[in-house]
């Protein structure tokens, strides 16, 4: 449930997003993409507008501004391709912004190490590699190693941690990835749909862990398509649609509007009393 401890504290901003635009540039798209003659043709006309050179721009986030405060858990919702993940990456400082500025307190980190892991290596080596990639020291990883393996439950069905990750089932691999990623405490934590992995018992454990991480983290952002997990973890929700910030407010209010927009079937259920409203 959403806790409201932040009301007792003064409002300290941890993330300030000031009129941000994010634009992707994709090479080699224009008309006749793929054929060599078309590519040559594009090169000949290089001096013309970017469009002619086969570069397409995708305006993923448009003029978004908001302020996040310490102790808040903020959900990001929106239909597929509405710019949620892109915005998170920009907050983490991993994607350059086109216009505007993003100010942060300390270094926000994205929860996820998938890209650093290698399928050909054993689970054991991947725990070390992932930990180091997130900026933990060798000693810290060694200290947490057993904890990570136990949490993932990889060894419940035999000694799997010493096998290459490519031999894991997709659920097992996802569990190990989450366990590695969740092993570190963060100031500002950004979670991109990490909750929906693994079987029921693992989901429960990971929800628990997320709540724990929240306690240590100053601010948590959660991107999810599961309205339930947003309700369970967040007290404020940002709704992005086509890259624009459509709504920003308390969880119930925004989710109601969002469910009406998407025609979600669970809007028919009885309205919960709005006890969770913070102010």
């Amino acid at each position: 449930m959403a806790d409201n401890t932040h009301l007792a504290q003064e409002n300290v901003p941890t993330v300030v997003v000031d009129g941000v635009d994010i634009v992707y540039r994709v090479n080699g798209t224009g008309a006749g993409r793929g054929s060599a003659t078309a590519a040559l043709n594009r090169m000949m006309r290089r001096k013309q507008v970017e469009k002619a050179a086969g570069v397409r721009t995708v305006h993923a986030v448009k003029n978004v501004s908001f302020v996040a405060y310490r102790g808040e858990a903020i959900g990001l919702i929106g239909t597929n391709g509405s710019g949620k993940s892109t915005l998170l990456k920009a907050v983490a400082g991993l994607l350059p912004v086109e216009n505007g500025r993003i100010y942060t307190d300390g270094q926000p980190s994205l929860l996820g190490v998938n890209a650093a892991l290698m399928n050909d290596l054993t689970g054991e080596r991947n725990v070390y590699l992932g930990g180091l990639a997130m900026g933990m020291s060798r000693e810290q990883v060694k200290e947490r190693y057993q904890e990570i393996v136990d949490f993932s439950g990889i060894n419940e069905k035999g000694d799997f941690i010493t096998l290459p990750m490519r031999t894991y089932s997709s659920g097992m691999a996802a569990r190990l990835r989450f366990s590695i990623a969740a092993a570190k405490d963060h100031d500002v934590l950004l979670i991109d749909e990490a909750l929906a992995t693994g079987d029921r018992s693992f989901q429960k454990r990971s929800e628990e862990r997320i709540r724990e991480l929240r306690k240590h983290a100053g601010t948590v952002f959660l991107v999810s398509h599961s309205n339930k997990s947003i309700r369970d973890t967040c007290d404020r929700v940002l709704w992005l649609e086509r890259g624009e910030l459509r709504m920003d407010g308390p969880t119930e209010e925004v989710l109601e509007a969002y469910e009406a927009f998407t025609g979600s079937p669970d809007k028919a259920k009885p309205q919960p009393a709005k006890v969770a409203l913070p102010s």
Binding site: N11, V12, P13, T14, V15, V16, V17, D18, G19, Y24, R25, N27, S65, F66, V67, Y69, A90, A92, G93, L94, L95, P96, R101, I102, Y103, T104, D105, Q107, S109, L110, V113, N114, A115, A116, M118, D120, L121, R125, L129, L132, A133, M134, G135, S137, R138, R236, L245, R246, M247, D248, G249, P250, E253, V254, A257, A260, F261, L277, P278, S279
Partner: protein
Amino acid sequence: MSQVLHTPPPTTVTAPAEDDLSALAARHGLTVSGARPSLREYIRQLWARRHFISAFSTAKLTAQYSQAKLGQVWQVMNPLLNAAVYFFIFGVLLGTKKGVPDYIPFLVTGVFIWTFTQSSIMAGTRAISGNLGLVRALHFPRAALPISFCLQQFQQLLFSMAALVVILLCFGVPVSASWLLAVPVLVLQFTFNAGVSMIMARAGAKTPDIAQLMPFVLRTWMYVSGVMWSIDHLAKGHSDWPSWLLPALQANPAAVYIDLMRFALIDSFHAGQLPPHVWLIATGWALLAGVGGFIYFWKAEETYGRG
């Protein structure tokens, strides 16, 4: 959906003045996300990630042959087979060995040292553009990537050097104290490779097409660097070469490192075959590429990760 339109966040007691978010950020000491750190800070961050750099390169090296039946044996087999191919073509078919004493050790040393530079630069070119997923998911100084790839090639070279020692002994090259010179040569060559890799990594991040072009550039470079033949011998047979050509060929960094390594390992390769001030040239190239490449790479740090 009447309330759907930029509802002001009721959670905030005092709504922030929309026009002055940057002042709010400044008041609470927030910093711009993803800004480039100072050079000093950057070096510190890089040093803090040294364990990641080494773990990443070792992991890449191990993963390379993990599906093969012979496994890590390929680390040594690969360079040996490579040398065998070059020996067959240049030693047997083309007869380049004419007049070069200890031709096989000469050739194999050249091939291994050249391969180190070649594959480091190739890997460097793809270091950012080929690892966008990593760059877009995690925080670390991006220079860790090209350096890590060079380290992987360096570890690969150490396997090759072990094979080389066996070859040298088989062909009766005596063990001597000068073999110790191999260590400073490798350190200088590694610095040079890492520097060029960082330059190419930045170029490759901006224009991925460079990765397609590089094999041709590198092949040309290989043929002028005296990997399969002795530049010195070739010059003697061409007295009509303009006077600047021989010093230019000899001062080329790849040739410098290859010939220094031959000088260190092979007793019949004498100092007279090296250009004057060879150590100075070797150090100069390493410093120029290493320091220059690092600064050049750091200058664009905040832009890596854009598609």
